[in-house]
Symmetry: C2
Subunit: 562 residues, 2 copies
Amino acid sequence: MTPPRIDLSRWRAWARDALQDDFVAACIVAVLLIPQSLAYALLAGLPPQAGLYASLLPLVAYAALGSSPAMGVGPVALLSLMISQALAGAPAGVPASAVALVLAIEVGLMLALAAWWRLDALAALLSVPVLQGFETGAALSIALSQLPVLLGASAGGSSLPQVLQSWWQAATPWWPLTALYGLAALTALWLARRHTARWLQRHMRPEPAKLLERLAPLAVLMLAIGVSAFTGAGARGVELVGALPALHWTLAWPTLDLTLWRQLLPSAAPIALVTFVSSLVVAESLARRDGHRIEPRRELAGLAAANLAAGLSAGMPVAGSFTRSIVNLDAGARTRMAGVFTAALMALAIWLLGKPLALLPTAVLAATILVAVASVFDAAPFREAWRYSRSEGALMAVVAALTVVMGVGWALAVGVAGSIALLLQRTARPHVALIGRVPGTEHYRNVGRHEVQLTPGVVALRIDESLLFTNARQLADVVQQHVAGHPGTRRVVLLMSPVNRIDFSGLTALRALHELLHDRGIRLDLSEVKGPVLDGLNEGGWTAWFDGRLFLSHHQAMLDER
Amino acid sequence: MTPPRIDLSRWRAWARDALQDDFVAACIVAVLLIPQSLAYALLAGLPPQAGLYASLLPLVAYAALGSSPAMGVGPVALLSLMISQALAGAPAGVPASAVALVLAIEVGLMLALAAWWRLDALAALLSVPVLQGFETGAALSIALSQLPVLLGASAGGSSLPQVLQSWWQAATPWWPLTALYGLAALTALWLARRHTARWLQRHMRPEPAKLLERLAPLAVLMLAIGVSAFTGAGARGVELVGALPALHWTLAWPTLDLTLWRQLLPSAAPIALVTFVSSLVVAESLARRDGHRIEPRRELAGLAAANLAAGLSAGMPVAGSFTRSIVNLDAGARTRMAGVFTAALMALAIWLLGKPLALLPTAVLAATILVAVASVFDAAPFREAWRYSRSEGALMAVVAALTVVMGVGWALAVGVAGSIALLLQRTARPHVALIGRVPGTEHYRNVGRHEVQLTPGVVALRIDESLLFTNARQLADVVQQHVAGHPGTRRVVLLMSPVNRIDFSGLTALRALHELLHDRGIRLDLSEVKGPVLDGLNEGGWTAWFDGRLFLSHHQAMLDER
């Protein structure tokens, strides 16, 4: 056999093409990232450079360890909301940016530990109702917290009572000029998103139309900076972003105040969970689009590296952004080099744009945030969940309301506890069906739903649930009721195909049922026991007490006596 | 039709017989209850009359509202251990018996609320590993706490560190004379339980043999009182029970110190849970023996009434005792009047025996407790659980160890959380089988376990779990892997018989899978969807997006294309 020839020139060509695609995608993402990084720092209650710095090294760190090719890591609105709540609870006297660094390091360490201990399964704790309710509630909180900024009224806090209180107490009057900037930017961005795209697509080829549409936010920003510089908005009382410090490449070591580190742990834990789960959702959504697979553990490692990098380079906690990731993929990103290019372009932008950005009114950034979160509001998932299951729909609404009123930590805790309680409640009340033969077939169905034939002297039951501690205590009771309803029963046959697992409590209950029936001269048989379940029973040594029979099919079990 | 004649004389005869049986049973139970009520008060760290009073009105209250005919309510060892731990945490200065009254009232109120809110399902939270580990650990704690009393060394506390500490600090030397009483009583009781019964049964008819066996503990007590009186044990330094106050029938209103009530709430909650679950286990075991049904809600109501009665009549929290209930049933108790008779006999006994009981050495009571809990120690359940499931066996051992080292509250909290975590973990990693046809039949089985035929172009999968939020995120991934392994797939058929429920997260995942396959020109079909699951899907309006087919049997689904 000849060894396969490695055609280096072809590989080089592919690499060149891929890198070219990655670079083009990076340009488009950077255009989106500049306003977003500033806006999300503002939303978190941090100086604007925290957002910019969080868009440099963390992207490179994720590219080194993460697994998703098109994931756009950096500041995201959801985390900014959680950071602002953590800052509100942080001790007075510590600067907000120092707190953000500690948070980022703690989030990074937690994610690293989670990767090491294989805790990626914890993502399973967040059900769709919780995630959906949480996202809607967070979007509402974000919008509420940005309205005052947009209108030039000073207000702080991010949960509803805080915002209402600070609106109430706001001594400063609203600034009509600030509100003018904010509302103008909001209108422009809204039109750009809603109508310009459609208008452009009708009048030019789709590619440049898409590019123009994506340039709109940056264009609005540039325009605002121009107007602000021309009219001297700062001198007229409009709040501006202000001068950014010069880009410094030295790694900053966060404060080593252990009390602060301990105080921030309860805030860092939900941030780490949300970072992981929201990024995983993004990565899965990307993976589904082009069919590649993602590895949750490598995602954890990549996000851990990104947050540690953010903490060591004067940034703020970061996660995968849904918007930027989709834009990245759409723009043709093929490898994680796209992230590295984005970081390089951001560095260039900070160097070139530092001066002009200082003149940007914060109300314009607030407009950017409002337009970004507006797309999250959607009543459809609530309606669908409520229609499918009253309790899950209610949980979704409760989580959304709690996010707004009580803050993110409470909402997540109640949501996870609620999801688990619903799961337990449902396994605790299994559907039990007396089954009979569909005439002329080998199929056995619920007596209450189908026209079926029963076999005299035999009670055949299907318990539609695994035998678990939550329902084990009822097993004997349920079977006893059916036996009592059929005098002269000689055999009970349990159809075990819905029983996916039997835990030790279930085994104990099965044994108790077996004894109970045995004492009354009734034999307990099982049909269609699943392979893994049977393996477990055999390992547990059930042959020592079980004297019934096992059947591969329920039909054979029913024929056994005739 | 003639109306059925009611034969009053026959009914009267039956009632007389039943009441006679109940009275005989009550006599035997009372004989057992006198030493136990004293011993369990001692174990709880309460004056002996608390145990006696808890054996009067609470029995009548349970008889009024409870549902189990033979349940023996009163002081039990497990609760006494928990009460002693609650007393250790109670504020100094409040007398122990006042704390016990507040605890009993709080437990009663909690149980009443649970009955009202239909929280009887909470009993499902305690799995067999937790209950078994907890009982073993509690028995060990009880034994540890009684050893010093048996040997005449003063020691307090009931968790291992407390006992070790108080042994260490014990300034009083051991009293050889006390130890002599204790060890003699222990030996006598041990022999009575182990050998006398067998010896008696060999030499006389079974009925009187059984009676004599049951009289043994009371006989030992009487003997000890006699010896103590004759030798003047109290004057020689042996600790005695001491004079009981005269029986008073006025209801005592417990202290209304709200701070105390609030402080005791965290102790009362686990006591209420254990009261309910341990009594329910007893009631279920009794019900299984003679085939009657119990109603968890009425049990809650009966136990609530019993504890409220205990709190208002100078007693201590009460529950159903396994030993006394079995003895009651064996002795022929037929109705709840047996409990009323027991209470009456206890009142008589207190009246007659008050003086002599004062002379009983506490070491003898400690011997009673040690013999009672010795029967709980059994390694078999641990071995069986470990053999069946490593993780459940480990949980059982951890709960037992925590009960001894950290106390009851911690052990229960960790046990419940551990059971839930194991359940979640297992639903999160469902067994997925590629299935094929068993040749010549209509049965489809796991390719990895059986010799089966596959249909080209069709991937048939069986996911052995309900579609829940814990596993929903993996659904698309798992199916995608199988499809990738079978190029040229035109259809995916999911055999839904193991899917007992689909929650909203599962529905969302199913929809995402459907879209994913649809985009690649693959049709998603479902077979053997259960009635309740299909009802749910239809209510949720899935027909709006689902364009696959549904089949009543998997075989039909596989034939569909040929």
